[in-house]
């Protein structure tokens, strides 16, 4: 689909390793994006940023879906990504509404203030 002359990569052995992209590359990348999102969720207080981190995690998973979809020559992975995006949109709408409500009740969006959900 998008093509580019990459033969120059093969000219150098060091670059050759860069040139051979396997599904595993994508999976590792997806886990890295996931981990970054997770890092945000764990370390941040701001509910809006945490929500963005969640979106990042979802994207990490999406990447793995598409990669495996290609690997297995099966479009269902991409269909699943479509549904993930739909669910993410729904989730964002509801979560942002919750954040607005939280801001109204607690006077801020720090999740450290919302600790009612405890055992």
């Amino acid at each position: 689909m998008i093509a580019m002359d990459t033969t120059f990569l093969a000219s150098s052995p060091a670059l050759a390793a860069l040139g051979e992209i396997t599904t595993a590359h994508y999976v590792v990348l997806s886990s890295l994006i996931f981990a970054v999102g997770l890092f945000g969720v764990v370390t941040r207080k701001n509910a809006v940023v945490i929500l963005m981190s969640l979106e990042l995690m979802l994207n990490g998973a999406n990447l793995a879906f598409v990669a495996f979809s290609r690997q297995h020559a099966n479009l269902q992975g991409q269909v699943f990504v479509f549904f993930v995006i739909a669910v993410a949109a729904a989730e964002a709408a509801v979560a942002l509404a919750i954040i607005i409500a939280l801001n109204r009740v607690k006077g801020g969006v720090s999740l450290d203030d919302a600790t009612e959900l405890k055992g």
């Binding site: 997770l38 969720v41 764990v42 919302a114 600790t115 009612e116 405890k118 055992g119």
Partner: protein
């Protein structure tokens, strides 16, 4: 013939459609609700009449089964459908015919009631349930509608929600019927299990026609069936307990008199004409299961005979006009069951049909009387209504003549058929004695009905209201039913009167399963001696009633004082209610206390201990969950890492 299936489903579902329409749309419009219900019933009646025209003109034993697969589990299929044969058509005609009259009567009787629409919705639901039993093709479908009949009966007995006695009566009816249903459930299970156990899953079925084939098999299957006669007879009798409860036979009869708390048309429709006849109908439908076992039939016969006598005796001491009719119903149902036990389902169905006509007539007549007397049911406060309510009086008298079995009203012919079957039976132990009981009950029936008529319509008016004749929506059905009560006997004139013998008997030939020992038992001959005996007993009964209550030449009080203890026993209804109360208070209460002890001190201790252990662990773990979401997610991630590591190391 293709239309038969359509007719069957129309009969079944027209009342249901009426119920749904009333509940969903017309609850607020009372008059409309009534007419919707009547329209549903008339649609069913029309379809049933069309069906009758085809079925009764076909050859005897004509049977068509239309089914769809409703539930299937493995090789067992539970169908749902309609069975079209002479039995279901006749029973359907009784239900829809009498039902239509009663629906129309209700328009007048229930005028101005608070729950008018609810009443008609329940009535239509009942009609649907009852027709479900009638049209059913298999035991499971029958059982479902059997329960539905119980539910709709419950809701109608307890129609006057604000009256405690009505609500209690509804509960009593429901619970008593549950006892029978419990037996019936086990009967069906035992029957099914036995067939699976002996003949394998291939022959296992709930369908009447499949079962009939098994029972009537003369080859290898028949031999296997004969080997397990004991178990199968037990299963049959267990199913019969369902019929005992629904048809209010002793000892499960206690609910029926109380059920008179419902509105009078309900008593007429359900607790006289149709619902209580369901038990008799079921035995007819399953008669092939009873026929091979003379012992089972003997139990049935004795149960019917005992009920007929005990109930008839109770009718003498009632002052409530509806209670008299209720015990009379019990007694007549006993008659029908007696006929079944004597091996004559056609006689039972014949009496069921005629009884439905004249008992519905009598109940509606009593309803008209009760309306006229401003909801007074006590006969001691009636009297002299003959002049004030002439239509009601004459139709009531016709009903009485029919019930007493005086020639030529319908009751004469059907009672004669039953007594005839008893007189020639030679398989039931004590058949001659039961025949004697039958004649005695005929005498008693005439006597208590004579008492009822004399107290209500003759003498001087003893109440305080101003009775006047009921409106046309009420007298119209009365006249219709009176005509039917007079001439329904023509359905089955016995041999010796008409050339071909009973039409009904020929139509119902398919009901009879006839093993070899059975030959000749169900021959419906006209026996002059039986007819004369029955008629003399009835006339004697009327005479006795006249001497006590008409001319007052014999003193009631003197008679009562002579038979004091017996009178007391009757007043207490043989202490059945007290006995059941004792069981509940003493036996059941003790068991309940014991169960409670086991539950509180043993079972609950075990459960509490287990819960305490978990609570302790939970108490430790909950410290981790302090409400900070990021900690939760970190812990979840740790879990994922641990699991992944474990999987990786495991590989």
């Amino acid at each position: 013939m293709a239309n038969l299936e359509l007719y069957g489903y129309v009969i079944l579902f027209a009342p249901l459609v009426a119920t749904v329409l009333i509940t969903c749309l017309t609850l607020k419009h009372k008059a409309l609700s009534g007419w919707v219900a009547i329209a549903g019933m008339l649609a069913a009646l029309t379809a049933n009449a069309l069906m009758a025209a085809e079925v009764f003109s076909a050859e005897p034993g004509f049977t068509r089964v239309y089914e769809i697969e409703w539930l299937s589990a493995g090789s067992v299929v539970i169908p749902f459908g309609v069975q079209v044969d002479a039995l279901s058509t006749l029973m359907g005609l009784v239900v829809t015919g009498v039902g239509s009259c009663i629906f129309i009567f209700s328009v007048g009787y229930m005028k101005g009631e608070e729950g008018y629409s609810r009443y008609f919705a329940c009535l239509s639901l009942f009609a649907f349930s009852m027709l479900g039993i009638v049209m059913s093709t298999n035991l499971i479908q029958t059982f479902i509608f059997w329960e539905l009949v119980g539910v709709s009966s419950y809701s109608l007995i307890g129609y006057y929600l604000e009256k405690d006695s009505a609500v209690d009566a509804g509960k009593k009816a429901f619970l008593t019927n549950r006892i029978g249903d419990f037996g019936m459930t086990w009967g069906i299970i035992l029957l099914f299990y036995t067939i699976v156990d002996t003949l394998g899953w291939d022959r296992a079925s709930f369908s009447f026609e499949d079962l009939r084939l098994l029972y009537e098999d003369t080859g290898a299957v028949g031999a296997i069936m004969a080997e397990h006669a004991g178990t199968l007879a037990l299963a049959t009798l267990l199913i019969f307990t369902g019929a005992v409860a629904k048809s209010a036979q002793v000892p499960l009869h206690v609910w029926l008199p109380d059920a008179m708390e419902g509105p009078t048309p309900v008593s007429a429709l359900m607790h006289a004409a149709t619902m209580v006849a369901a038990g008799v109908f079921l035995v007819c439908r399953l008669f092939f299961m009873f026929a091979p076992y003379p012992e089972a039939l003997a139990v049935v016969a004795w149960m019917g005979g005992i009920t007929a006598f005990l109930a008839a005796a109770l009718a003498f001491v009632q002052h409530d006009i509806k209670k008299v009719l209720a015990y009379s119903t019990l007694s007549q149902l006993g008659y029908m069951v007696l006929a079944l036990g004597m091996g004559s389902p056609p006689a039972a169905m014949f009496h069921l049909t005629t009884h439905a006509c004249f008992k519905a007539l009598l109940f509606l007549g009593s309803g008209s009387v009760i309306m006229g007397c401003h909801h007074e049911q006590d006969m001691r406060k009636m009297g002299g209504l003959r002049k004030k309510m002439p239509v009601t009086f004459w139709t009531f008298v016709i009903g009485t003549i029919a019930l007493a079995g005086i020639f030529p009203a319908s009751g004469f012919w059907s009672k004669d058929a039953i007594l005839g079957s008893a007189s020639i039976n030679h398989t039931v132990p004590g058949a001659t004695f039961l025949y004697g009981v039958g004649v005695l009950v005929a005498f008693m029936t005439a006597a208590y009905m004579g008492r009822c008529v004399l107290l209500t319509f003759f003498g001087k008016y003893r109440g305080h209201a101003h009775p006047k004749e009921s409106p046309a929506t009420m007298t119209g059905p009365l006249v219709l039913l009176a005509v039917a009560s007079l001439f329904a006997g023509a359905l089955s004139l016995p041999k010796g009167i008409s050339a071909e013998g009973g039409w009904l008997e020929r139509a119902l030939v398919g009901v009879q399963a006839a093993p070899s020992w059975f030959a000749g038992v169900h021959e419906e001959q006209f026996h002059l001696s039986v007819a004369i005996g029955g008629t003399v007993a009835a006339l004697l009964g009327l005479f006795v009633a006249y001497m006590f209550y008409g001319s007052r030449k014999w003193s009631i009080d003197g008679f009562v004082s002579k038979v004091g203890p017996l009178h007391h026993l009757l007043e207490k209804k043989y202490y059945f209610d007290e006995f059941y109360l004792w069981i509940v208070r003493e036996v059941q209460q003790r068991v309940a206390v014991l169960s409670n002890f086991i539950e509180v001190h043993i079972l609950r201790w075990i459960v509490d201990t287990i819960a305490a252990i978990h609570r302790w662990f939970g108490g430790q773990i909950r410290l981790l969950l302090d409400g900070h979401l990021h900690r939760y997610i970190t812990l979840a991630l740790l879990g994922v890492v641990v699991i992944l590591t474990a999987v990786l190391v495991g590989n």
